[in-house]
Symmetry: C2
Subunit: 371 residues, 2 copies
């Protein structure tokens, strides 16, 4: 299927456990020099609504303007990619909103992926949207290839991740990350794929533990109400020696005994080790608890990655997923952990559009999947 | 060093992050047919105090009478092993108690292991106790060999772990568990050793995540105040579909898509997946939260074990540590998980004295370590 800008509005949607990620393709020549057909007018109305603002308060949605990629190809067209996220629980409101705002559904093509794409199929089909579903791992792979190809300065790593002063984000050229590599997605949960070529990948691992555990527990034990608040707390906090017990606290004799394993004094020996004491529990600061929960997730993810590195021998790891959005802390922690465990042999990479791989892939895949 | 019952009272102590585990050796002929020397009288006073009761309320301590092992050898003597545990934070009270109760320290030999054994060295030395420290992994290995050798019906496994009605605890003969095997200790944190002979072992893995995280977070998000209360909650709770999101909830289309990975409908897809919704958070039952936290720990430990199984090719795993005390739920969960992940290839074993390996080892090692 080739795409006509006058006839369709293209949306790639990834409906995860908590976040909906939307990529909207805006063709450059939309509506110019041509008769305004019904579907074209629909395309224009959608474009005007999406690009006129960056926050959609009705649905707690955000368009991340800094992520916009202009001048990219999609089939026969050239246009811009816009990146929007909103909480999945707002999906009903989004659908209602389209009706309320008079945004017609006809002429809109949505390719959806993620676990929610099946659950919500009926809602979209009732709207007469051209709705398709695509496998989440396939879209992730295509989306990633597309982003690395078409987005300049997409990929980067952290130099000196454990040194706050010397730590530096280093962008790399698109060919720097070579095949094979491990693709680790941390959203609400975690998955690990071995990617051997632009089109070949195998799911080799995963964990139910990921961002949902961080955020869910954070909201239960601190006043945080959403991811940004939880992250803001974690950034101010310190888990070492407050919530978690580190090796240095246990005494120099013990540290000396264990130094054969090259454990530094601030190595976390017991996660939540101080939270068994009722007094310390009562005195625990929300920011330290948030930081400890964040460290817990990076520990679990890091261990699962270490396992996959050993199993495959592959030493390049690319981390994606919404958990890493606005979360340099986790990125640095996970880089430092892989570096420590592998004695420098493993390289950890990240991308700028970390949460949008599958949504981009859904867009790219839209002409390959059955309606 | 050979041991004279009239001259010494032998205690093996494992001072962990939260629990002190004490093994007391009571010689059969203590004080009979011999002059009551000062040290002998000390031995008798200690014995009378320890064996006269099963709860030591002053220090929140418990003697687990059902675990007592009679008629076992220790060097030239024969006697009984008694098993006592109390919270580490009560250690000062225990030391004070010995003075208060007029229990003299002279003639008492304590071999201590665990991280607390170094921190508290001074307190013991000030008492004129014959105090020695021993490496926690060495004592664990010796203690285990001793228990498997001298305690009948020590080792067991669970048949049909995931079927509540058919599940059965099966005791095995002492030679059933052969070398090599993986020894996984879950106390406050987790360690994994590869044991290749009664004396040869290597620490090959571990995690800061273990019982402290379960208990610490349980006390933060439920009314539970200690391990028994947290476990009682977890036993009544259900995490699947309440706190955690399972694959069956996401829709039959998604389940069908993922059934290629042989995931059952109750497979946990997202730990704490339901806790991102403020309404569900408010409605979450303490017992379901406790159960979810327990499942989290067994998931993390299980994944670490799976990693070590793959790295070594060793398919027999023995789980020990206080986390498994009064915790058949975790034992069955971890057995079922290993069974599922390895497609039945991995065998999970447990022992009756799960928390006392290192304390027994400290006792056994007492004549090998320097004072």
């Amino acid at each position: 299927m080739s795409v006509n800008a006058d006839e369709t509005t293209l949306l790639g949607v990834d409906l995860g456990n908590s976040l909906a990620k939307v990529v909207y393709f805006e063709p450059e020549k939309l509506g110019e020099n041509c008769h305004l057909s019904a579907s074209n007018s629909s395309s224009k109305a959608i474009r005007d609504y999406i690009t006129s603002k960056t926050t959609y308060d009705e649905v707690d949605g955000v368009r991340e303007e800094s992520l916009t990629i202009p001048g990219v190809p999609l089939n026969d067209l050239t246009g811009s990619l816009h990146f929007i996220r909103f909480p999945v629980i707002e999906l009903d409101t989004v659908i209602g909103l389209m009706k309320t705002k008079g945004l017609p559904a006809k002429g809109i093509t949505i390719t959806a992926t993620g676990m929610g794409s099946y659950v919500n199929r009926k809602d979209f089909e009732e709207m007469e949207v051209d709705y398709r579903t695509a496998d989440e791992f396939t879209t992730q792979a295509s989306g990633l290839v597309y982003l690395l190809q078409h987005s300049p300065k997409e990929c980067y790593y952290f130099e000196n991740p454990s040194n706050e002063e010397l730590c530096r984000k280093v962008h790399v050229e698109k060919d720097h990350l070579t095949y094979p590599y491990l693709l680790v997605t941390v959203g609400s949960a975690t998955s690990i794929c071995l990617v051997t070529s632009p089109k070949d990948f195998t799911v080799i691992g995963g964990s139910s533990i990921g961002g949902a555990m961080f955020l869910g527990l954070c909201c239960l034990v601190t006043p945080a109400k959403n991811f940004d608040e939880a992250m803001a707390l974690a950034k101010r906090g310190n888990h070492k020696g407050t919530v978690d017990k580190v090796i240095g606290e246990v005494g120099s004799e013990y540290l000396q005994l264990r130094s054969g394993y090259k454990l530094p004094p601030d190595f976390v020996l017991v996660s939540f080790g101080h939270m068994l004491d009722p007094e310390q529990r009562k005195a625990a600061k929300p920011e330290d608890l948030a930081r400890s929960l964040l460290a817990t997730i990076t520990t679990v993810v890091g261990a699962a990655v270490g396992d996959s590195v050993r199993a495959t021998g592959v030493k390049q790891v690319l981390f994606v997923g919404s958990f890493f959005g606005n979360n340099d802390l986790a990125k640095k922690q996970i880089t430092a952990m892989q570096h420590f465990v592998s004695q420098g042999a493993v390289n950890s990479f990240f991308i700028e559009h970390e949460g949008y791989c599958s949504a981009v892939g859904a867009l790219v895949e839209h002409d390959k999947v059955k309606a």
